[in-house]
Symmetry: C2
Subunit: 223 residues, 2 copies
């Protein structure tokens, strides 16, 4: 199909498609004339992935380029590729954690070992997590192993299904893409559900307090 | 304290402090001479909040301005303020959901009612959630009420503690700030823990598959 058809088919503007090609996120179409190129299903699929990463994951062009590089590197074993796409989603960790993060980082690493998990030493998640724990504590909010365990137990409910689901995809590219979209998609889904739950809980707590206050006022008036 | 001391105390550069003042995120210091201003503890606290929102929440300057506006509006009842800071974290929803999102949006709204929750009709979370569900399904990933219930049940474990914790803060500003940092901080924490769990699960699945394949090869060799 021509670039205009690709645009109609995916809802992505021609200008954006050209931008993604220039930025190396989308392969060029096959040139058919001086000023014309032909695009195929692989372009539709790739465009859909780029948009999902940007819109759902909030990823920058540079981050998208990094994770697409992993998707396209068919040499790496599947498990390594799964790890690398997830690592590619985060900003690379500082080589030497600042003093402020060191105690939290040690706690996180001890916790990971105590749960019997193996992750790559290059995984940025423990560093990011240490920063989050330090920030929560600076604001007086609880951030202990109890909180981490609760989050992990919730994640474990669907983690194996998710990994097996990705592995069952018809080809390697689809498997890595699925792992990638699952990672960013479900974490945003959890976050939005959490916001709904927090607002509903706040409404319930508020209603209970108002009801109690009314009850007290009534009893006082009855005396 | 002078601006240079405020910078040393918070680790935020003088240029960034001046930028936040210009952008209306941080109040001006009290002018003490033509080219000098005095900053206090409220500036330290506000700077810490701005940085946490940007670094933990990944919020843009415009979003930070919106949520700080809610923190500073002491007229609104506390429960409303809790809702509004959470709404301020998301991009405002489109007034009319595109056709693509309508079925998912109806499912989300029916689900919220079935759980007996009350949230503001202005809450953007159901719209964002509908978009996420539509995207996950486009990639063939499961996004049913079962997935939403699992996420909600995990969130409910700490939601009431979190709301009560914020309400117990010594003043209204601290209560709203706590709700805000708790919302962005715990959702990022959950996401990072999930990445660790996924990578560890992928490693376990991979090890099991490799072991089984080795077992099969051995049995074949023994025949």
């Amino acid at each position: 199909m021509r670039i205009s058809e690709l645009s109609r088919h995916t809802g992505v503007s021609v200008a954006s498609i050209k931008f993604y090609v220039r930025e190396g996120l989308l392969p060029n179409g096959v040139a058919t004339a001086a000023n014309q190129a032909e695009y195929g299903d692989e372009h539709v699929r790739r465009l859909r992935l780029i948009r999902a990463l940007m819109e759902v994951g909030g990823l920058s062009v540079a981050r998208v380029r990094t994770v697409l590089g992993v998707v396209d590197d068919t040499e790496a074993p599947l498990h390594e590729a799964f790890g690398e796409v997830m690592h590619g989603l985060a900003e690379p960790p500082l080589p030497d954690p600042p003093e402020r993060l060191r105690p939290a980082l040690e706690e996180v690493q001890t916790w990971i070992r105590s749960r019997g998990w193996t992750i790559s030493p290059e995984a940025p998640a423990p560093y990011v997590l240490a920063g989050l724990i330090a920030t929560l504590r600076e604001f007086g909010l609880p951030a202990s192993i109890g909180e981490l365990d609760a989050a992990a137990d919730a994640a474990l409910v669907i983690a194996e299904t998710e990994v097996q689901f990705a592995r069952a995809m018809p080809d390697r590219t689809a498997a890595v893409e699925t792992m990638l979209i699952g990672t960013v998609g479900y974490e945003r889904t959890f976050a939005e559900v959490r916001r709904i739950v927090l607002e509903a809980t706040s409404a319930e707590v508020d209603a209970t307090i108002t009801k109690r206050a009314r009850g007290r006022a009534k009893r006082r008036a009855a005396r």
